[in-house]
Symmetry: C2
Amino acid sequence: MNQKLQAFLNEHKLDALLLIGDSLCDPDLYYLSHFLSGDRFALLGKEKIHLLVSSMERGRAHKESSADEVASTDDYGIMERLQSLGKPDVAYVEALSEFLRDRGARRLAVPFRTPAGIYRLLSSQFDLTIMDSPVSGWRSSKSRQEIEAIWSVQRACQSAMGVALRLLSRSRPRGDMIYWGDRPLTSEKVREVIEVHLLKKGCDALETIVAGGEEAVDPHARGSGPLPANAPIVVDIFPRSKSTRYFGDMTRTVVRGEASLEVREIYQAVLAAQGAGLKALCAGVSGREVHARVCQAFAEHGFPERKGKGFIHSTGHGVGLSVHERPSLGEAGEILEANMVVTVEPGLYYPGVGGIRLEDLAVVTEKGCQNLTDFSKHLVL
Amino acid sequence: MNQKLQAFLNEHKLDALLLIGDSLCDPDLYYLSHFLSGDRFALLGKEKIHLLVSSMERGRAHKESSADEVASTDDYGIMERLQSLGKPDVAYVEALSEFLRDRGARRLAVPFRTPAGIYRLLSSQFDLTIMDSPVSGWRSSKSRQEIEAIWSVQRACQSAMGVALRLLSRSRPRGDMIYWGDRPLTSEKVREVIEVHLLKKGCDALETIVAGGEEAVDPHARGSGPLPANAPIVVDIFPRSKSTRYFGDMTRTVVRGEASLEVREIYQAVLAAQGAGLKALCAGVSGREVHARVCQAFAEHGFPERKGKGFIHSTGHGVGLSVHERPSLGEAGEILEANMVVTVEPGLYYPGVGGIRLEDLAVVTEKGCQNLTDFSKHLVL
């Protein structure tokens, strides 16, 4: 990591990289510090990694973070500054400025998402260059340890999918709904079963999708209320390990009851398109090309639509400390490198019919890919 | 809400307020839009609330958000711009600029945390004023509906606390650890029981604290490994409702086994200080004054230390869509208003002894406060 940072700083003739935010919401910060905090802190990357945290967080940062040095805003007189300046943000930036000067940082790269207020206050004293964060690029290719962490979450994800599909398979179709005992089985109930299972495996899953029928025509709809019989139900699970903070991601689509011929054809097309995508994955190939192969497979199966209905999203995305990160498998997809971890998740969405999506998670290799997902694909339960 | 926005814009002679971010991480955005998304979107507040979302999110934004209008970046040619400009961020800001011009917004307030890259690109075309977000001020005083939502989460929180304390009370002290059956009872196990219980009540709880002995001397330590016998164990639960997105927050400290005289004295001091804080709460009183009363109570009980050990944090904070929000009950605490919801959570931390904290959640009223927490306080289980 430090080599990449040095190369970046040398290339741009900069003293340091400055990240400011909270590492719950900014995975770059977590990646460089291994310090998880919902409170704002600053990370200065030079030869070493330096943190500036609140006094409350100092002890934990010392213990938990991988940074070389931890300083606290108390060391930089935050309370006195607050009393004399009144404004908390101004007091903070004054303390931060002294912290930066003490470490010889003058020419600084700051990422695009740096808080504008801090950027403006700092820019009178420092030479700041706003850049796309280089860290998200460094994050895209994973170490062996990171791949192990993702694989481990993916296994928990599969286990939860198994529990969910068993629940669905044991429900009874009656009329246009499915029942568990006397009651309609709902998206909420299936989601609860998934999330409790994941929690017991040390994972959080905040936005699990269990959406059936017309709801699933919107790929981002989470689903609510009774689930339909004889219509596709999309189950998309993307848990995060509480300990490693890495995500897994997978989707299956199933029908409880009878699937129409149209739904079966759509399912076969999605399965074929996913196969084409996985087959196209390889170091040196662009995400754009993988996406093009998937689009081509859809067209060949008679589902060429891409606007408003049909295949309305891209083929996939990187997965790591974020559930959506680089690289993209879409129109603007960059060249893939070995050890990138990506989803391949084509889907078709037709109002009046429903949504069908299949998603696996795979590691890009020099010769192709290794699928981290080992879970069957069957439409009808 | 719209009245507050209008008054704010008139006072500062501005056309509109512009917020940019994702509403998972920015509660102001959620507050004004009721649209939950992990993807970046823009909110323009004028006479009406306008959203600019990605095409993928458009359907869901239409359905779920409370905004008056939803536009998508597709309406503003994001794909064509991306193809001609190359840079996604520049393409986005171009689309955003046209969206803003179309709605007659020229003089804009942007909050302190606006992404610096967007701020810089927009500032060549618009008259931007960086401000503390007025929304966090609007959020601090709650509506009846918001108080109901918080109260409901707080009841789930109490229920989970009950489950956790029953588990602890049924454990057996042996040597310096507590056991469940043949195995040491761990922080992780108690946390799992709490979080599964909360999940079944429709709440997430990401960072529950179950910390005993020396670990609890750091108020932010989450706790790990076997829990101690005969020493204080801090249980701090702050769940969020999945449906309303509001938080609850409460803390109890217990000893399983024997509590030393010193621990009992500390516990009594914390109890008294909390009583003093709750008694001081009232509309028109400042958070600073409430905090001073708590510090005074600690001093009167013989625990005056405030640096490094003793009462090393502030008295409390607002709770709502964030677990930490305005107002502050601390050194810089502002004047309290009716319907603010705040924690009162004094604690004492002594290396070699442990940490003891008690936390209730209360609504500030014209004549005092209404405690939303109805849960006993006993040191020894």
